[in-house]
Amino acid sequence: MSLRMMIGAGFLVWQLAMIVNARFIDTKYFCWAPHDSQVQYELTVTINGRELSGEEIQNRYRKAKRGREVRAAGNVKNIIEQYEKTYGRNDRAQVVMKYKVNGIPQRDWVLPSPSPS
């Protein structure tokens, strides 16, 4: 088998592994989940006691304050979590995401997660 074929075959095997991996995590990336979920969400972001406007949220996460995600709710959470752990780690933002998955309301997601009492 030539190097080209090995690279191609390795790439396909990696995709198979990602399909299996997606069964065990909340996010759906690289696993061929097209339009598998209709998530409608609303974000509330507070920094130093001030609530950010829709435009500020859009500029911060490049995600609308009220929007739709077609793969998994975990993708939106993952994006916000990554932003707050990297670019925005000094802001100490508090994020609340209210959301519905396929029309069914879910428990609010909060960042940072409330510490167990």
Partner: protein, 469 residues
């Protein structure tokens, strides 16, 4: 193949490059779809990447401009037949870097384009490189149904009910739901999608079912468009274009007017010829992509009517009738098939006796691979004349090897043996893997003769003998 710099500049000409016609046409159609849908705006800067290294790839606006420029360069090179594999590599890098450098910009369409262009860039003649592209499409369907079948909302129909009723608000669908018990219609659609994707995964793997699977896939995506009025941006164009890799583009097309065409030595007339004339014209695919690529909201009605017309026009009934007529002609004037076997192998000689006992109508004739007639036939089919690790079945002008040959022989034997032909549904690489194990160990396990099998006088007429015999 000419020197790469002497290739035709004509975008409709896909025949002069290192890539097979169908693969190059597929890539061009995807690129056209991306252009029509305005995808050069979709290459963002690096923002929330999957891997932190992308955060260090220079100023975001320059990063974005580089990706956009590379997309333009790669697509122009591809469309005008310049260094097509390099063009595909450029496009693959653009799409894969785009999805990897920004979780916001991640989309299945971009990842799909990246995969297709990467595997095309890796194409190498004489290797079974096209198989990688085929497996790519199969993996897309595999991932798709695996994600759905483990989702409660897909199994219950909740997903479709909510999507159609609340998100895209199709009034026709809402009306139809009132005629059935709650959730029944949505459950039907959800399970139809899951079962179709499972079928596509299995059938596209199997050479025998591939044609049927292709038509299923084309109708599946088009009907989804007609039901939902949504084309998933460029995904519909990309996935339908990718079906080209499952067909063998004819080597020789002689058009003799609209209703007569000779394709690879076979004559077609009437409506079937008309369809073939269209299906084997790159211009048709360019126009189809042009229509599907029209702005969605403004031209939705035209797109819906075009898809409906195409589904009716291309319904493969004439092809099915032609196929059955051909089968009946072949059956009414059967030509014996020829089995070429390793003449010094005990297992192979035993297999020949096994076939003869179960083939009283003499559908098969035999020749040792090492014999004069065997060597002539091997040369005729451009097969190696010194490798005897597989037996070969020759049917008219086609030959089959390894497990496929064995199963086709079983299909024509008396008794219950034809039932084993169902094993043809097992993907060929898996079947051949087991075949090879036996073939490699046949001398050790079953022994070897010193000289070729000589048929007894009463069986001589079943064996091909040298002309001077």
């Amino acid at each position: 193949m000419k020197h790469p710099y002497l290739n035709s500049w004509n975008p409709f000409d896909c025949s002069q490059t290192i890539l097979p016609f169908n693969i190059l046409l597929m890539c061009k159609l995807i690129v056209l779809g991306l252009w029509f849908k305005g995808y050069w705006y979709e290459f963002s800067d690096h923002f929330l990447p999957f891997w932190p290294i992308f955060d260090y790839l220079g100023p975001p606006d320059i990063f974005q401009r580089i990706l956009q420029s590379l997309f333009i360069i790669g697509s122009v090179m591809l469309l005008f037949n310049r260094a097509v594999r390099s063009a595909c590599l450029i496009l693959a890098l653009v799409f894969l870097i785009t999805v990897a450098s920004s979780k916001i910009m991640y989309s299945n369409v971009k990842f799909f384009c990246g995969c297709i262009f990467l595997l095309t860039a890796l194409y190498k003649p004489a290797e079974n490189a096209i198989a990688l592209l085929r497996y790519q499409i199969i993996i897309v369907y595999l991932g798709s149904w695996v994600n759905k079948i483990f989702d409660d909302d897909w199994r219950s129909g909740q997903y479709f009910e909510y999507w159609m009723g609340a998100i895209i608000k199709r009034e026709t669908y809402v009306y139809w739901t009132t005629l059935f018990p709650p959730m029944l219609l949505s459950k039907f659609f959800c399970w139809s999608a899951i079962i179709t994707e499972i079928w596509l995964t299995i059938a596209l793997l199997t050479k025998l079912l591939r044609g049927l699977a292709m038509w299923t896939g084309i109708y599946f995506h088009c009907l989804m468009f007609l039901v939902a009025w949504y084309d998933f941006k460029v995904f519909m164009i990309a996935i339908l274009s990718s079906y080209l890799i499952f067909i063998a583009w004819p080597k020789d097309i002689q058009r003799r007017g609209l209703f007569a065409v000779k394709i690879d030595g076979q004559n077609y007339t009437g409506f079937l010829a008309f369809k073939k004339n269209i299906l084997y014209s790159p211009a048709f695919y360019f126009i189809a992509v042009g229509i599907l690529g029209l702005p969605h909201e403004e031209f939705l009605w035209i797109k819906l009517q075009a898809v409906k017309a195409a589904l009716v026009f291309f319904f493969p009934l004439p092809e099915i009738l032609h196929y059955w007529q051909q089968r009946r002609r072949e059956e009414s004037s059967p030509v014996p098939s020829i089995i070429l076997f390793d003449g010094v192998c005990n297992l192979c000689s035993g297999s020949v006796n096994f076939v003869i006992r179960r083939d009283p109508q003499a559908k098969f004739q035999f020749a040792a691979l090492q014999s004069g007639p065997g060597q002539i036939l091997l040369k005729n089919f451009n097969l190696p004349t010194d490798e005897f690790n597989t037996f070969i079945l020759i049917e008219a002008d086609h030959y089959y090897q390894r497990s496929t040959a064995a199963l086709r022989v079983l299909k024509n034997l008396n008794g219950l043996w034809p039932l084993l032909y169902a094993l043809v549904l097992v993907p060929r690489p898996i079947r051949d893997f087991f075949y090879q194990i036996i073939a490699r160990n046949r001398y050790r396990w079953f022994g070897k003769r010193d000289q070729c099998l000589m048929p007894t006088p009463d069986l001589q007429k079943r064996f091909l003998l040298p002309i001077d015999d």
